[in-house]
C-alpha cells in the first residue's frame, strides 16, 4: 500500500491508540444549495430533475457577451444563514472570480467570494449524544455558484476514471450555493468524529428551520468537505494548543451524516498509520468511498491551485443596509436547540425518546402529525415503528422514506384515530399501516379495503367465547379455579376464531365473566 491509496481497515491504527498519541484537529466546509426559484446570477429555474440543458440561458451557459445579475433572495438567504450562526454581516462585500478550467464550469471561472465574504465569525453550539454542548466556531459563509453535471461514458465503471468522453448538462450550473466554513475545531479529542456528525446534522436542522434549502445530502443539495489533521498529544501539563498543527487532508463530498463521522474517524486512523511508519502526510484532496468506507488520494495541492482570484468586474459590491439586516434578523426562526427543548416539554417525551426521534429525523413529521390531531405519544409510536424501521433498512431518513412511499402525517393521525375510536386495535392498525406504506391509500381506505375492523357485534364475540370455552374444558376449569392468567390461551383462540378482529380486552373480560371471575 502506498500513500496514494486508501489504507484498508487492517492497516490502520486502532482508534484508541490514535488518541493515546495524537490530538485531532478538524475543519468542516459545508456547501448548501439554496432553495431559490432561480439561479444565483440569472433567471433560470432551479427545479431538480429537469431534462438536460432545459434550464439554461446565455448567462449560466457562459455564452460570450452574457452578464450576471445577483439574485436578491440568495443574498438575503446568505445573510439569514449568517445571522442564525451568530456571524457578523459585512457592511460591504464583493464577488470574486476563481479561475480554473473545468468542462462543467461554463465560464472557466467560478463566481464566488474570496477575501470579502458576506458574513464572518460566528458559531454553532452543537449538542452531543451525552447531552453536552460543543461550540463550533464559524470562520465565514460566502455565496458562490454550482457547476454543471457530467455523465461519464465508456470505461469500466462509468466513473470519471477511464471514461472515453463525458456528456455535460448545465442545468445545475449557476445554482446558488452558500459555503459555510468552520474555524479549526480543536479539543474534541475522541469525540471528534461525533462532533463532526453533530455539527453537520444540527447545521442541517438550522438550515431547514431557516427554510433556505431543502438540505438533502443524498441529492447533493448539502455537501460536506472534511479536513482532518493530527498533532502529537501534549505532554502532561503542557498546553495542547502550543503544539503546531499537523498537515491536513481534505476529504471531499461526504454525502451523509453517518459518513461524515466515518470519514473523520477513518482519516484519523489513516493519518496515525502513516505517521507511525515515519512517513509524512501529503497535503491533498481525498475522495470518500461510501461503499468501502475508505478515502483515496485525489490530487496534491499544486501550482494548479493558483486560482488567480480578482474582484468580479461584472458585479457591483453587496452592501447590506442596517435596516435590511435587522429586517432579516426578525425573520429568524426559533433556534433548533431551543425548539427541541420546547417540543420535548410539550410532548412529554423522555430524554431517550426525544433523542430517538431526533436521530430518526422525525421531529417535523411528529409535529405535523400532532397538528393533524394525533397525540404526541401516538405520533411517536407510529412513526418510530415500522416507517423508521423500513427507512433505516433502506439507509434513508424517515422523512425521505415517507415522501417516497407517500405516507403523510395525516395518514398517521387518522390511523391513531381509528384505534382511539375502537375500530382497530394495535395489531390491526399495524396491518393498516402496512397497507398505507404499500401505497394502498388512506388509513380508512386500507381498513375498508382489507375488511379490517374489531368485532363490534357483542353477540358474535359471545358466541366465539362460548365456543372456545366449550372446546377447552381443561383450561376453563383452571380459570374457574382462579388461575386467571390461563385466560391468555383462550383469548388467543378467540382472536384466531375472529381472524384477529376481536377486541382482546373485551374478549378477556367476557371469558372471565363466563367463568365466574368477572
Amino acid at each position: 500500500m502506498t500513500l496514494t491509496h486508501g489504507l484498508g481497515q487492517d492497516d490502520l491504527v486502532a482508534y484508541d491508540d490514535v488518541l493515546a498519541s495524537y490530538d485531532p484537529v478538524m475543519g468542516l466546509e459545508v456547501h448548501v444549495e439554496l432553495g431559490t426559484a432561480t439561479k444565483m446570477f440569472c433567471g433560470c429555474a432551479t427545479a431538480f430533475g429537469a431534462e438536460p440543458n432545459t434550464q439554461v440561458c446565455p448567462v449560466c451557459l457562459g455564452l460570450p457577451g452574457a452578464l450576471p445579475v445577483v439574485n436578491e433572495v440568495a443574498v438575503e438567504s446568505a445573510i439569514r444563514i449568517g445571522l442564525a450562526l451568530h456571524c457578523s454581516v459585512m457592511p460591504w462585500s464583493r464577488f470574486a472570480r476563481k479561475n480554473y478550467f473545468y468542462p462543467d464550469m461554463p465560464k472557466n471561472f467560478q463566481t464566488s467570494q474570496y477575501d470579502e465574504p458576506i458574513v464572518h465569525d460566528g458559531h454553532l453550539d452543537v449538542e452531543l449524544d451525552d447531552g453536552t454542548t460543543f461550540r463550533v466556531e464559524i470562520e465565514r459563509a460566502h455565496m458562490e455558484e454550482d457547476t454543471g453535471k457530467s455523465l461519464h461514458i465508456g470505461g469500466a465503471t462509468g466513473r470519471i476514471h477511464g471514461a472515453d468522453y463525458s456528456l455535460v448538462d448545465y442545468n445545475r450550473a449557476g445554482i446558488p450555493l452558500v459555503e459555510i466554513v468552520t474555524k479549526p475545531i480543536r479539543g474534541a479529542g475522541e469525540r471528534a468524529p461525533e462532533v463532526a456528525r453533530a455539527f453537520v446534522t444540527q447545521l442541517r436542522d438550522l438550515l431547514k428551520a431557516l427554510d433556505v434549502s431543502d438540505v438533502k445530502m443524498e441529492q447533493g443539495s448539502m455537501r460536506a468537505d472534511v479536513n482532518v489533521s493530527l498533532r502529537p498529544k501534549a505532554a502532561a501539563g503542557e498546553d495542547q494548543d502550543a503544539v503546531p498543527l499537523g498537515t491536513r487532508t481534505e476529504t471531499k463530498n461526504v454525502n451523509s451524516f453517518r459518513s461524515v463521522e466515518r470519514a473523520v474517524r477513518y482519516e484519523m486512523m489513516r493519518h496515525a498509520a502513516v505517521l507511525s511508519r515515519g512517513e509524512r502526510i501529503l497535503q491533498e484532496t481525498r475522495h470518500w468511498h461510501e461503499d468501502t468506507g475508505l478515502t483515496t488520494s485525489g490530487r496534491p495541492k499544486s501550482d494548479a491551485d493558483d486560482y488567480r482570484y480578482f474582484p468580479e468586474p461584472d458585479l457591483v459590491p453587496v452592501a447590506p443596509s442596517e435596516e435590511l439586516v435587522e429586517r432579516l434578523r426578525g425573520t429568524l426562526p426559533e433556534p433548533p436547540a431551543q425548539r427541541r427543548r420546547r417540543l420535548q416539554t410539550e410532548w412529554g417525551y423522555s430524554d431517550l425518546e426525544m433523542r430517538d426521534v431526533l436521530n430518526a429525523g422525525a421531529v417535523e413529521l411528529i409535529e405535523a402529525t400532532v397538528a393533524a390531531g394525533a397525540t404526541p405519544a401516538g405520533a411517536r409510536k407510529w412513526w418510530m415503528g415500522e416507517p423508521s424501521r423500513r427507512a433505516n433498512a433502506e439507509a434513508q431518513d424517515v422523512v425521505t422514506y415517507a415522501a417516497a412511499v407517500g405516507v403523510t402525517p395525516a395518514h398517521i393521525a387518522e390511523l391513531e384515530g381509528l384505534v382511539t375510536s375502537g375500530r382497530l386495535n394495535d395489531q390491526l392498525a399495524r396491518q393498516v399501516l402496512d397497507g398505507v406504506l404499500a401505497g394502498e391509500g388512506t388509513s380508512t381506505a386500507v381498513a375498508d379495503a382489507r375488511g379490517l375492523q374489531l368485532v363490534q357485534d357483542s353477540g358474535a364475540l359471545e358466541a366465539a367465547v362460548d365456543e372456545v370455552i366449550a372446546a377447552n374444558p381443561d383450561v376453563a376449569d383452571k380459570i374457574r379455579d382462579g388461575k386467571v392468567q390461563a385466560a391468555g390461551a383462550l383469548i388467543g383462540q378467540v382472536m384466531k376464531a375472529t381472524k384477529g378482529q376481536a377486541d382482546a380486552g373485551k374478549a378477556r373480560a367476557l371469558i372471565l365473566e363466563r367463568l365466574g371471575q368477572g
Binding site: V56, I153, D169, R299, P311
Partner: protein, 97 residues
C-alpha cells in the same frame, strides 16, 4: 521582474494554451519587454490609496428571484462542437485519482 522560459510555459499551461517551442521563445522576449514597461505602475505614489476595481461606485444591484425564460435545449446546444443525449459532448476529463 525577469521572466524565465519555464515561467512562460507554466503560465501558458495555466491559461490552457499549448505553445510550441518557437512560440515560447518569441513570447518570452515580447512579454519581457512589455513587463518591463508596465512595471512602471510600481513607481506611482500609491501609498494609502484604495484599489479601484469598478469605474462607477454602484452597490446592491440585484434582481428579483423570478424565473425568466431562457434558451431551449436546441438553442443552448446550437454551437456545440459535438453533442449527444441533449448534452454537450466533451473529451474525457482527466482523472483526479
Amino acid at each position: 521582474m525577469a521572466l524565465s522560459r519555464d515561467d512562460v510555459a507554466h503560465l501558458a499551461s495555466l491559461a490552457r494554451i499549448e505553445l510550441g517551442e518557437a512560440e515560447l521563445d518569441r513570447m518570452l522576449g515580447e512579454l519581457s519587454v512589455i513587463l518591463d514597461s508596465v512595471a512602471k505602475v510600481q513607481q506611482a505614489p500609491t501609498e494609502g490609496v484604495e484599489p479601484m476595481s469598478h469605474p462607477m461606485p454602484l452597490t446592491n444591484v440585484t434582481r428579483p428571484d423570478e424565473v425568466r425564460p431562457g434558451l431551449s435545449a436546441p438553442e443552448a446546444l446550437s454551437g456545440a462542437p459535438e453533442q449527444e443525449q441533449q448534452r454537450f459532448l466533451v473529451p474525457r476529463i482527466l482523472d483526479e485519482e
